[in-house]
Amino acid sequence: MSDFKMKILVVDDFSTMRRIVKNLLKQLGYENIEEAEDGAQAYSKLKNGGYGFVVSDWNMPNMDGLDLLKKVRSDPELKDLPILMVTAEAEKEKVITAIQAGVNNYIVKPFTGEVLKEKMDKIFERLAAQKQ
């Protein structure tokens, strides 16, 4: 069962994209969504704690999605935080790198609410299974 009160961080440098993703998440029922403009800002927000999920774009200035992922995974406080990476089709080859770096799943632009839900459900199912 999804926890709709869970705090989610949407990371993208393009504010329209943040809004689109936020909108899709809201359609799925999530209420507690925050935004960050790039990896660096996301990381400092995450450090403040309380987040249950991250949807991050890959290609961003300052700190890109992959570096954010690496940084989160190497941070003892955050290492278990589920991250969904948003990529464009052309970057599929890079997905392997992301998986090696410990991404929970990835989603290819453009995506619908259903696909997003599917991906999120999968991530949480797997996490639940790991806990047992």
């Binding site: 440098d13 393009f14 504010s15 329209t16 994209m17 809004r19 689109i20 909108n23 960050a36 403009e37 790039d38 660096a40 800002q41 400092s44 774009d57 290609n59 961003m60 200035p61 300052n62 700190m63 890109d64 570096d67 464009a88 052309a90 632009k109 453009p110 995506f111």
Partner: protein
């Protein structure tokens, strides 16, 4: 939900247009700097982002164009192809197409552009570039990693010679390493972290070198230039990071809402003025009453706060002029290419903040001046060389704030204006008589270019699509209450200097009285006020003049300017109050009956009134609750000067 979607689309259009505005000048930079990974990355990312968001919103045409352009940028980024003019041209074309597509979405006109030819062209250009490269040696590319390896090993050698500082004390991250290494390679180039990270990765792949060693070595070896720069740069980067955090706190607000606040702030200013008046009255009448003192205190507090609020609201409307300037590098590139000239554009002071209205209206006149400079002023390369100038022409745009004015200077190093030629042409066109031309001062002769109907060619600007002459430059700028001055020197160049008041809504004004009626005159063009004895006023060929500190200054009666005829009732007074107005390099005096005082006024536009012929800019409500006209001194100056000339 539909509204939400509509809003998202609006936001997408704005953001995508902003992205295009931002990357367009980077193309020109790219052309000058060559294969700069940093720039390429930035452009690539913007294309990529626009494509991504367009995909969500179902704007397939945008996706197609952005995708094709992005492909090229990606190959450039990965060093698989090299930059060429034809490649650049076709990418710029795709930017134009993206803009057009955005306009169609914005206007909901349902027009479907055929993007297929452009997409094909982009594909072809990419193919051509790829095969081009295959024919070339691979040397150019393989050199790069070598250089870096060398650099790193050099760094590691340095590290051996210097006692390592405890790395744990202040662990610099790997970004700094990369930055420092980059600095060694090219000290002047400021680079963005995306590239830095990339290089950092490359560096980290060189196994023998521990990151911290390089770090400390570079940090400690203060004797080398690289080290000094390397230490400064991280600070700048921290600043940049801070700026980014700040940027995130920006809020997009509908301009109408800001204007509403602006309006209300204006009303508050008016009420404040009234209250000041009333409290002064009480202060005089009930000086000893304790409540009066309390009232005065409260009112003066309100006074201060209102002024602060006014500035705050004004600042809300201010935007960096860069918004306008960013389109010029591309414009200059395109125009100069079309007339086969090589022109370099330098821009200074793009951070200068100006009112939103200025942003909206200054673009066209500036475009026109630039076009004119490239077209007419900058000589062809051969001619320049013959004159001993560098073959490449140069145009400099400089923006700065001077007092309460924003100044925009556009300077070219072209051939300057030939005043005799100008006069001759004006006579031919029937704009001037021989005699007028003879009498004309040099300053006035330069102004011939602004005469309606003088412009040689009716050039349709590609950007605005309208055919405009130089006279439009002057009109547009005077709409902003500003003025243009031109200075020119043969074979050295020409400077257009545009001055515009900082804010357009609330101004300081001098209140004057004529025929028992009060008027407000904007304070900024007023140089001084004088009380003169009537006998000091001379009449030269029908024009009243006065000598002010050895300078002759034409004098006009405000009463006759406004069409009341000369005011007989005051003629028996043997002195007059004069207001000396200075507009650019024109100076003249206006005679009034009384100087009332200085007041802050809020300009309210008057609908249904021909403000150009009546010399009225608008109206305001004064502290005593009366409606007062604000006079348009710019219009007056134009008109009066024509009178004196005729």
């Amino acid at each position: 939900m539909n509204d939400e979607m509509e809003e998202i689309i609006q936001e997408f259009i704005t953001e995508a247009e902003e992205s295009l505005d931002r990357i367009e000048p980077r193309f020109v930079e790219l052309e000058q700097k060559g294969q700069d990974t940093n720039l390429i990355n930035d452009i690539f990312r913007s294309m990529h982002t626009i494509k991504g968001a367009a995909g969500f919103l179902g704007f397939q045409l945008i996706v197609d164009v952005a995708h094709a352009a992005e492909n090229i940028m990606k190959k450039l980024r990965d060093n698989e192809i090299s930059l060429s003019k034809s490649l650049m041209d076709v990418i710029l074309e795709s930017i134009d197409m993206l803009r057009l597509l955005l306009i169609h979405i914005k206007e909901k006109d349902g027009v479907e552009e055929n993007v297929a030819p452009l997409v094909q062209e982009l594909g072809k250009a990419l193919k051509a570039a790829m095969s081009n490269l295959n024919n070339k040696e691979q040397a150019g590319i393989s050199v790069k990693p070598d250089i870096r390896a060398e650099q790193s090993s050099k760094a590691s050698k340095e590290s051996e010679s210097i006692s390592p500082e405890s790395a744990s004390e202040k662990p610099l991250n790997k970004v700094n390493v990369a930055e420092s290494a980059k600095v060694t390679e090219n000290a002047q180039e400021t680079s963005k972290s995306s590239q830095i990270t990339q290089i950092a990765e490359e560096l980290s792949q060189i196994p023998e070198i521990a990151k911290t060693t390089i770090n400390d070595s570079i940090k400690n070896s203060e004797s080398t230039q690289a080290a000094t720069d390397g230490e400064q740069k991280p600070n700048e980067m921290i600043q940049a990071a801070k700026d980014n955090v700040q940027k995130a706190q920006n809020l997009r607000v509908d301009v109408n809402r800001i204007d509403k606040v602006m309006d209300l702030a204006g009303e508050v200013v008016l009420v404040r003025n009234r209250l000041l008046n009333i409290s002064n009255y009480f202060d005089m009448k009930y000086t000893d009453d304790q409540m009066t003192e309390i009232l005065m205190e409260a009112v003066s507090f309100l006074d201060r706060i209102t002024s602060d609020m006014q500035i705050a609201v004004m600042k809300m409307r201010m935007q960096p002029i860069q918004k306008v300037l960013s389109k010029f590098p591309r414009l200059v590139r395109d125009i100069s290419a079309s007339v086969n000239k090589d022109v370099e554009l330098q821009i200074f002071g793009e951070g200068t903040e100006v009112d939103k209205t200025v942003i909206e209206h200054i673009g066209d006149p500036m475009t026109h001046i630039l076009r004119n400079s490239i077209d007419h002023a900058i000589e062809p390369a051969e001619e320049r060389i013959a004159k001993g100038k560098p073959s490449k022409g140069k145009i400099v745009i400089n923006t700065y704030q001077r007092g309460t004015q924003i100044v925009v200077e556009i300077t070219d190093d072209g051939k300057g204006m030939d005043l005799n030629k100008l006069k001759k042409k004006a006579i031919e066109k029937g704009l001037l008589t021989e005699e007028e031309a003879q009498k004309m001062s040099d300053k006035d002769a330069i102004d011939i270019i602004f005469m309606p109907g003088f412009s040689t060619k009716e050039v349709a600007t590609e950007l605005s699509g309208r055919g405009v002459g130089m006279d439009v430059v002057k009109t547009n700028i005077s709409l902003l209450n500003g003025y243009v001055e031109v200075s020119t020197e043969k074979d050295v160049g020409t400077t257009f200097k545009i001055s515009i008041p900082l804010t357009l809504a609330i101004i300081q004004a001098l209140m004057v009285e004529v025929n028992g009626v009060k008027y407000a005159i904007p304070l900024s063009p007023i140089e001084e006020t004088l009380k003169v004895s009537k006998k000091d006023i001379n009449n030269i060929t029908g024009q009243n003049v006065i000598v002010i500190r050895d300078n002759i200054c034409p004098l006009f009666d405000l009463s006759s300017i406004l069409g009341f005829g000369s005011n007989g009732n005051n003629d028996d007074l043997d002195f007059k109050y004069l207001i000396v107005i200075s507009m650019g390099d024109r100076r003249f005096c206006i005679a009034v009956d009384k100087l009332v005082g200085q007041e802050e006024v809020v300009i309210k536009t008057l609908n249904g009134m021909d403000t150009t012929s009546s010399f009225v800019l608008g109206a305001t409500i004064t502290g005593d609750g009366k409606v007062v006209f604000i006079l348009d001194v710019t219009g007056m100056s134009r008109n009066l000067m024509e009178l004196t000339r005729a």
